[in-house]
Symmetry: C2
Subunit: 271 residues, 2 copies
């Protein structure tokens, strides 16, 4: 699945990445979902190792346009993984207290501890996306943030955190379909926000902002993956495979506490 | 499953509650696990309603002796529930900063927000259990805590939080079996802590502390359930059924945002 990882330091054009791409996966939705179930079981197994080895930290970042499937991906990939080992943090519009601090303050507070998987549903990237598109701070402020973010993520990585960043790439047409569905289905209507229509008008500005952010912050220590997301099953499959492959590559081991097992067994039997 | 709920204001004796009890459940492990899967699917469905109705808050507290199955219950009941809607907080030995505050400080900070399920793996009850058994504070201090806890929980409840407290009740013999298993299985050995053997010697003191805590803090607004926990499948089943029944009783509804659907559909089609 390396084809979706954005090479650091190279020019990146979103138009080279089709939201409809299915790679060379042989099979359709059903086979994709079977494969997803396998990856999910593997992530579950690896999470237990992660927890008890207590050495690595994993940070997974999701960004997307409205309807891109952030919620759905979190659910599809992490449902069935021990809820005690996964923490999902959704970053909303910053509160007054958060705005009184720098934009990385609330982010740093939520990064994973040892043995933990943390999922960011939106993240500090909003501070070079929505903030840029809506001119919430002057250009000379947000322009500096790409380097700040790279430095911040490098520090996390050097201290032992693995960072995976996913942009869920849907098309403008697919967004329309999904927004229509929200309007039409009574049990999805609560998800529709009239403000989303205004954001939709800014699609080209958002795409430029995503292009810049991904190009400037896809690094060796915190790569971006641009995931074809028009088809949910394929999106889920690619994300799950990247996470499983990454965790597998750590070659984790159950800790061996080097205790005198026979002594403790004897004590226990007598108790 | 009301049989396991402890009536407020009545004398409570742990010896009246057998860790081996199977109630009048007709069937064994296999049927129990099938039923559990149904409850879990229902909790998943209800959690989505909880999230989008954005009205209730649910706090689930687990307490038990070592080996009582806190981790296993969290996993069995909440695996498969959207990880975005469930947050599990494990309270360990308090840090220096936490000890500089009152014992409810770190607890209050982790209580659920609207639409959220929070699970406490251990809780403020440690401050009338381990703290009492080991004399970490004088008796005149911990004695006051039962009322303090009731008042605290009442305030949470009055402000809209539903609180369910589960004591996972295993026998002294069953604990021995489980500790032996941890010693014998290499992939479970990391869970064995030699200090647990010392705690085991204090079993009677812990049982008295649990008895007092449950009797004094099972309230209308935050009831204790004493769950027979020698058999994992039955323990999981009872806990899941209490949670599902509680959430079902709220009769939650998908919000109806009262928007002009046709207007927005038209705008969307033109965009």
């Amino acid at each position: 699945m390396d084809r979706y990882r954005i090479e650091p330091g190279k020019k990146f054009k979103l138009s080279d990445y089709s939201p409809d791409d299915l790679g060379d996966f042989e099979g359709k939705k059903q086979k994709g979902n079977e494969k997803l179930a396998e990856y999910r079981a593997e992530i579950d197994r690896l999470q237990e190792l992660l927890y008890c080895e207590h050495k690595h930290r994993l940070l997974v970042v999701f960004q997307a346009m409205d309807g891109g499937g952030k919620d759905g991906t979190v659910r599809a990939v992490f449902d069935g993984v021990n809820p005690q080992g996964v923490r999902v943090t959704s970053f909303k519009v910053p509160t007054e207290i958060e705005l009184d601090h720098d934009y990385l303050w609330r982010i740093h507070a939520q990064t994973p501890g040892k043995g933990e998987i943390v999922v960011f549903n939106r993240s500090h990237y909003e501070d070079v996306l929505v903030v840029r598109v809506h001119n919430l701070v002057p250009k000379e402020v947000w322009k500096k943030r790409y380097k700040q973010i790279n430095d911040f993520e490098q520090q996390l990585a050097e201290e032992g955190t693995t960072i995976l960043k996913f942009f869920l790439n849907i098309s403008l047409d697919e967004q329309k379909e999904r927004m229509l569905e929200r309007l039409e289905m009574p049990e999805k209507r609560w998800k529709f926000n009239p403000g989303d229509l205004d954001e939709r008008k800014l699609w080209p500005e958002y795409m430029s902002a995503f292009e810049d952010a991904i190009e400037k912050t896809s690094t060796k220590w915190a790569p971006w993956y641009v995931i074809p997301a028009n088809r949910n099953w394929y999106r889920n499959l690619v994300v799950a495979s990247v996470i499983a492959d990454t965790m597998r590559s750590w070659k984790m081991q159950y800790p061996d506490p080097q205790i005198d097992v026979e002594l403790y067994k004897k004590q226990l039997m007598e108790s």
